[in-house]
């Protein structure tokens, strides 16, 4: 008897996404990046408030790869540094859907905080 193909998980089943992991998904939303480029993107976007170390980054990438939200897109030397080859990572379609679902979830929370006047109408 043949088994029916496994149904892909819904993006909502991954929510809430841990903050550091969401930052990685955001960094990869613009396209493929290698590990250090992800770290730099996160640090720049958060004005240095979030600094991922290699352990946190690759621990999260391992889980994202296992959950099929991220995939490896090859190994090559980065153009800015012509030295050793590095692995590049990119979002899968499920990864994009999870990032969107998490962004919507956070947006709902922020709008609720605005209604309760905990934060202003416009970001400070």
């Amino acid at each position: 008897m043949s088994r029916s193909p496994q149904k892909p998980p819904s993006p909502e089943s991954f929510l809430p996404v841990p903050p550091a992991t969401f930052h990685i998904l955001l960094a990869l939303a613009d396209g493929e990046l290698h590990g250090y480029a992800i770290m730099q993107d996160v640090a720049q976007r958060s004005d240095g408030a979030v600094r991922l170390g290699p352990g946190t980054l690759y621990g999260a990438l391992k889980r994202l790869l296992a959950a099929r939200l991220v995939e490896e897109s090859g190994e090559r030397a980065p153009p800015e540094r012509d030295d050793e080859r590095r692995r590049y990572y990119r979002l899968t379609s499920l990864g994009v859907a999870v990032a969107r679902a998490e962004a919507r979830r956070l947006d709902t929370i922020v709008r609720a905080a605005r209604r309760k006047r905990l934060i202003g109408e416009r970001p400070a």
Binding site: F14, L15, P16, V17, P18, A20, T21, G35, Y36, M39, R51, L52, G53, P54, G55, T56, L57, Y58, G59, A60, L61, K62, R63, L64, A66, A67, L69, R81, E84, R86, R87
Partner: protein, 186 residues
């Protein structure tokens, strides 16, 4: 000792499989960090150690699957206790037959023996990773033991601990949510 050599030593905190998969990439990223930062400052090394301290234990726990090991030990413990309780019920049955004990007592003993046999089956199901079968067997064992207890309320404390305590504890462990998110807590 160079900064990279120290970092390679610190990487031993991670599970071997993780190191084999990502160790090289992590060293390359560390090299980049050394190029862009000052490795002679306390802050730099504090960040390095903090990163390892917060990520390595979680990855080690994932690698050893601690919860599964605990469940396996609990199942083996249950097998031993259920066999002991079954032997005790058998001895009671023989003694009760010789002394010509009444019907409710013998029926209670029979129900308790069935409950222990089903409990033994539940523990074997846990060991064979048949969680749904284990849950059903634990509920059946608890119900049978409750019926036995109602028929004969003067049971010993050890027998009651095995008959009531083990099915309840194992059911809680089986229904306990394993993880809030498959993406970890980072």
């Amino acid at each position: 000792m160079s900064a990279e050599r120290i970092y390679r030593l610190l990487l031993r905190a991670y599970p071997p499989a993780f190191r084999a998969e990502y160790g090289r990439e992590m060293v390359l990223v560390f090299r980049d960090q050394c190029r862009d930062g000052d490795t002679r400052t306390v802050g730099f090394w504090a960040r390095v150690v903090w990163d390892i301290a917060r990520s390595a234990p979680a990855l080690r726990a994932e690698a050893t699957r601690t919860v599964e090991v605990i469940m396996k030990l609990a199942a083996i413990f249950t097998v031993l206790l259920a066999v002991l309780a079954l032997l005790g019920a058998g001895a009671e049955w023989v003694a009760g037959s010789k002394q010509g004990m009444g019907g409710p007592y013998m029926l209670s003993l029979l129900l308790a023996a069935f409950a222990f046999a089903v409990l033994l089956g539940a523990a074997v199901a846990i060991l064979r990773r048949r969680q749904q079968a284990a849950r059903l067997a634990l509920i059946a064992s608890f119900a049978m033991f409750l019926a036995a207890r109602l028929l004969f309320p003067w049971m010993g404390i050890f027998v009651q601990l095995v008959g009531f305590g083990l099915p309840v504890a194992l059911l809680i462990a089986l229904y306990w949510p394993r993880k809030a998110s498959t993406l970890g807590a980072a």
